[in-house]
């Protein structure tokens, strides 16, 4: 566990100069928009986490970190797990910040009242909130999306390299679409209906918890697959 934290610390120092200023500006911006305009804007915090971590793979690859990992007392598995863990932790922290800011914004009730002529927006926001689509709930959707993106991108970056990230992402996403299309058209599974029924029969809180767990599971599965492949590779 100590080694994982050391690796996360190493990564953080590697990218903090590049990412931290933009991350802080992003948080201030999203917070302002959330308080002043739309509370649900706070839900996008996990995407800021993605922005923060985005230079990591390219920094590692460009600077020959494989050789650094080769001389440090760490295993290949630990390198992979640390990278996925830091992505997950950052997404989670960003989501918690998003929930807090969104909730504060709703509690304060200042949104869209500060700017005259936005009554329609206020009405939509209030309807969302009354139906349970709170900023906290919206954050769980963004959290799942960010986790899914990390799960796919880190797998690609480790296995194929950053240079092939674009084409590899396209191929993987196309593959996923084909599988879903196969399930819908050939097997006859109606995903839309299943999801609708599930959402209607599940409380918003339960749904949010499921989305958080799903995000965690996606990252965990990707980390296990990636590490099992990387463990057989030379540095």
């Amino acid at each position: 566990m100590k080694t994982l934290f050391n690796l996360m610390h190493l990564d953080f120092i590697s990218i903090k100069n590049k990412s931290l200023p933009a991350f802080i500006v992003g948080i201030i911006l999203v917070t302002t928009i959330s308080i002043v305009l739309v509370p649900h804007a706070a839900a996008s915090m996990p995407f800021l986490a993605m922005g923060f971590m985005s230079p990591m793979s390219i920094t590692a690859e460009k600077n020959g970190y494989n050789r650094l990992y080769g001389i440090l007392p760490v295993s290949r598995k630990q390198v992979v797990y640390a990278r996925f863990a830091e992505a997950f932790i950052l997404c989670l922290v960003a989501a918690l910040i998003g929930i807090a800011i969104g909730s504060i914004s709703v509690a304060l009730g200042l949104y869209s009242h500060l700017i005259p002529g936005l009554d329609k927006i206020v009405l939509v926001i209030d309807t969302f909130i009354s139906e349970g689509l709170t900023p906290a709930y919206a954050t769980s959707i963004f959290f799942l999306t960010a986790c899914f993106s990390f799960a796919v991108l880190y797998f690609i970056d480790f296995i194929f390299g950053v240079e092939k990230e674009g084409p590899a992402t396209l191929i993987i996403m196309f593959g996923l679409c084909l599988i879903i299309a196969f399930l819908i058209l050939v097997v006859g599974i109606d995903f839309a209906e299943i999801i609708n029924n599930f959402i209607e029969s599940t409380s918003r809180t339960t749904m949010a918890i499921i989305l958080y767990l799903l995000g965690m599971i996606l990252i965990a599965i990707s980390a296990v697959i990636t590490s099992s492949i990387m463990n057989k590779r030379e540095l």
Binding site: S14, N63, G70, I71, P73, S75, E234
Partner: protein, 286 residues
């Protein structure tokens, strides 16, 4: 003798290259020059020592620890200097120190900064602004700051100017003055090996051509200059390599193997450079 590094029957195959039963050992407290032409297998051997490349068969032990089973423990005992950096170049020396320090049980921050001062390395500039010599010295400072018992250098002097090369070699000599420290020094600049190495291992096409003391290698082998029609069966048999030129032949041979009736033969001591050339051009007609 107490060996810091022992490699026994190391085999490692790639599609177009293989290490073939590589065996050698480095006694504690000495510097070994690890030489051979490009592609002879030096870097692959070093990568297997560091467990960066997987071995097919054979064993590697560092300070009695197995290179695969005890890889993490070995990493604590080894300092490495590659031919190019492995840090984020936009970082400063202090950032990199903070990155690496937590990984090593015996990391000494004061020692690290004392090396930076000793090597005249600035702490307020990113590594990208360092010259190649400064980068090498910076890697050496890191390798020396966690009380490593063995420093491994892979072509560290390639591309360095003579002053920077000299400084790096001085650092290594200073490091082994404590008899507990050892150095494995891979290079194709044989003058560096002639200057600082106690032991030499010569690799040729993935095989160990020679391993032993430098003095023995330098004293034992000579280049026999012969006319093209003077090569007898005995000389051909005993020569390690013969290179045929238009007008004469050069035969690399142990001094003791020179035929007794060779009064007319001219021979001279071979430098490591000449040996490498003769090894590489075995049987070649020039």
């Amino acid at each position: 003798m107490n060996n810091i590094l022992e490699i026994k029957d190391l085999c490692k195959s790639y599609d177009s290259f293989k290490l073939d039963n590589v065996s050698f050992s480095l006694p504690r407290g000495y510097i070994m020059g690890f030489i051979g032409q490009n592609g002879s297998g030096k870097t692959t051997t070093i990568r297997t020592i560091l467990n960066m490349a997987f071995i097919d068969s054979g064993t590697i032990t560092v300070s009695g620890l197995d290179s695969v089973r005890d890889a993490n423990k070995i990493s604590q005992k080894i300092g490495v200097v590659f031919d190019s950096t492995y840090f984020a170049l936009h970082l400063k020396a202090g950032d990199i120190e903070r990155q690496l320090k937590p990984f090593y049980d015996s990391w000494d921050t004061a020692k690290f900064y004392s090396y930076l001062t000793k090597f005249s390395l600035p702490t307020n500039k990113p590594i990208s602004e360092f010259s190649k010599g400064m980068k090498m010295k910076f890697m050496a400072a890191i390798a020396l700051s966690h009380d490593a018992e063995l420093i491994i250098l892979d072509e560290p002097t390639s591309g360095l100017d003579p002053v920077a090369r000299d400084e790096l070699l001085e650092i290594l000599l200073d490091y082994v003055s404590d008899e507990n420290h050892s150095v494995l020094f891979s290079t194709h600049i044989t003058q560096d090996v002639e200057r600082i190495a106690d032991y030499v291992t010569v690799l040729d096409s993935g095989k160990v051509w020679y391993t032993g003391t430098k003095d023995e290698l330098m004293n034992d082998f000579v280049i026999l200059r012969l006319g093209n029609n003077e090569i007898t069966d005995e000389i051909a048999q005993k020569s390690l390599n013969i290179v045929r030129h238009e007008t004469h032949c050069d035969a690399l041979i142990r001094q003791k193997d020179i035929p007794i009736k060779s009064g007319n033969f001219v021979y001279e001591k071979a430098s490591l450079d000449e040996m490498l050339v003769l090894i590489a051009r075995k049987g070649e007609k020039r």
